[in-house]
């Protein structure tokens, strides 16, 4: 029990340090942009593929149920609601947690156990700013961009299915799709994704930063980064949806 509360205290201190270091100069612009590339550009292919398949399959599965009521014309708006409100931010976050979160945990963990972090410290460089702040900023900023992108690609997948069945035009599909989408939906999409991105970055960095016991510790850091961030993402999803639904 004592260990658990000490861990909570460490997480609190770690987050506090992030916010302090993020606003204090000098800023590691180059490393932040490097991480934007690592998190964003390198994840585009998997996000595109997953988004397209999710949209296509979800539309296919929903079609039969809606067809029973003769309501297949609702598919575009149904898909827009499903993709933009829930699927895009959640699926993007889970993919990034698996792909980037584990990578951050393993990278920082291996730097910790091979004394590279201490080497930075004695080279008069702030390793927290260089490694942690840059990565958490990158995941916080890039996950919303990727979620919007996945939303678009998901709707594209849905359009392919709708076009094959109803020959609906591209413009008409997107007009119908966005009829039910409000500013609050788009705002929630960005806010949720930013929170998920922050969670992924912090979970990866925290577990890597406190890695010990050699290669076993590195493996554990990578593993914990994914497990903890996925667990927190689901809890956050539940809380945010409950909160936002009060404003609808």
């Amino acid at each position: 029990m004592k260990v658990f509360f000490l861990r909570i205290y460490d997480i609190y201190q770690f987050s506090l340090r992030f916010w302090k270091e993020a606003f204090l100069p000098p800023y590691e612009y180059k490393e932040v942009f490097n991480q934007f590339f690592e998190v964003g550009i390198k994840s585009l292919s998997i996000i595109s593929l997953t988004g397209f398949i999710t949209g296509l399959v979800f539309t296919k599965q929903s079609r039969s149920s809606l067809a029973e009521f003769g309501a297949t014309s609702w598919l575009p708006s149904l898909m827009a609601i499903a993709v933009l409100r829930a699927l895009a931010p959640l699926v993007t976050a889970l993919i990034i947690a698996g792909k980037v979160g584990s990578n951050i945990g393993a990278e920082i963990g291996s730097m910790r156990v091979s004394e590279q972090i201490e080497a930075m410290e004695v080279s008069s460089t702030n390793p927290f700013k260089f490694l942690v702040v840059s990565r958490v900023l990158a995941t916080t900023c890039i996950v919303p961009v990727l979620a919007i992108y996945m939303g678009f690609i998901g709707l594209l997948g849905a359009f392919v299915n709708v076009y094959n069945n109803e020959q609906t035009s591209f413009v008409s599909f997107f007009q119908q799709a966005f009829m039910k989408i409000t500013f609050l939906d788009l705002f929630t999409l960005v806010l949720k994704s930013a929170i998920y991105g922050y969670t992924i970055g912090m979970a990866g960095c925290f577990n890597g930063w406190y890695a010990d016991q050699g290669t076993v510790g590195v493996g554990r850091a990578a593993n914990m980064a994914v497990v903890v961030s996925m667990f927190l993402i689901f809890i956050e999803e539940m809380l945010i949806v409950t909160l936002i639904n009060n404003y609808r």
Partner: protein
């Protein structure tokens, strides 16, 4: 007891040791990890220009000692003065400034895996001297690589280097900031005897060329004999004996005798 390691290991004392001026001064340093007391009241003064070797078995607290000097660990008790500054009294910025004058060569070299040799060397330089031009940075990199004898490795990744080359690049990375103090953590650990002699020569070369003072942590007698003006034997968190290599090992103390004999046997 004979101290008959080969003549070629014998250190030639540099001319510029100034004992009126301590660059490192430790007083009553104590450090524990949980219930294990690792350092039990250490006092140490390192003269300007002097290489001090701290010898001891694994787990005797050697690495903890230099990490305390570098400000990577804080002692539970005692004071650490480095270049006339008390480390405990420094804020983060002052500590960062002081660290730019201390070079630390890690046991495992601690090169940044994801960066080329050039990027490894550039990393501390551009962060400490932000107004340098590209040409000045390139010149400084070429110079330190020349000084450690590895000019051709500049575009290689750390994974492509041998153990000895990694050690040299690790030392080059600290030299690029022209430190006043060098801290070497087990500089010859894991190296073959020939490469170990090359690293020992490099340590002496750095002392002469860069006019550094150094603390060298090792359990390798050849390294101690060839690099240190003063040798200190650390055992169970305390300094057992200090002096020249011959003075330290000219004793009947069983701990020191055992350490010497086992080291000699493993060397043979």
């Amino acid at each position: 007891m004979s101290t008959g390691t080969s003549k070629k290991y014998q250190k030639h004392s540099p001319a510029a040791i100034d004992c009126n001026h301590s660059v490192i001064s430790l007083r009553n340093i104590r450090k524990s990890f949980g219930s294990l007391e690792v350092l039990k009241g250490i006092d140490l003064d390192v003269c300007k220009g002097e290489n001090v070797v701290v010898l001891g078995r694994s787990g005797s607290g050697k690495s903890v000692l230099i990490k305390i000097i570098a400000g990577l660990l804080r002692p539970d008790e005692g004071t650490v003065r480095v270049l006339d500054k008390e480390i405990d009294q420094l804020d983060a910025r002052e500590l960062q400034e002081l660290r730019s004058k201390i070079g630390f060569s890690f046991q495992g070299s601690a090169l940044y895996d994801g960066m080329t040799v050039r990027a490894n060397l550039e990393f501390p330089l551009v962060r400490n001297q932000r107004d340098l031009s590209r040409q000045e940075v390139d010149k400084a990199i070429a110079q330190v690589l020349e000084d450690v004898g590895l000019p051709r490795t500049i575009d290689q990744m750390p994974a492509e280097l041998s153990g000895g080359q990694k050690k040299r690049i690790g030392i080059a990375r600290t030299l690029i900031l022209h430190p006043e103090i060098m801290l070497y953590d087990e500089p010859t650990a894991g190296l073959d005897p020939v490469t170990s002699v090359e690293i020992n020569d490099l340590i002496n070369d750095v002392q002469q060329r860069y006019n550094t003072s150094a603390v060298i942590i090792t359990h390798d007698l050849a390294c101690a004999k060839s690099t240190g003006e003063r040798v200190i034997m650390l055992s169970e968190g305390k300094f057992l004996r200090q002096g020249s290599f011959e003075e330290v090992f000219h004793t009947e103390d069983p701990t020191i005798k055992d350490f010497y004999n086992y080291n000699f046997i493993s060397d043979s």
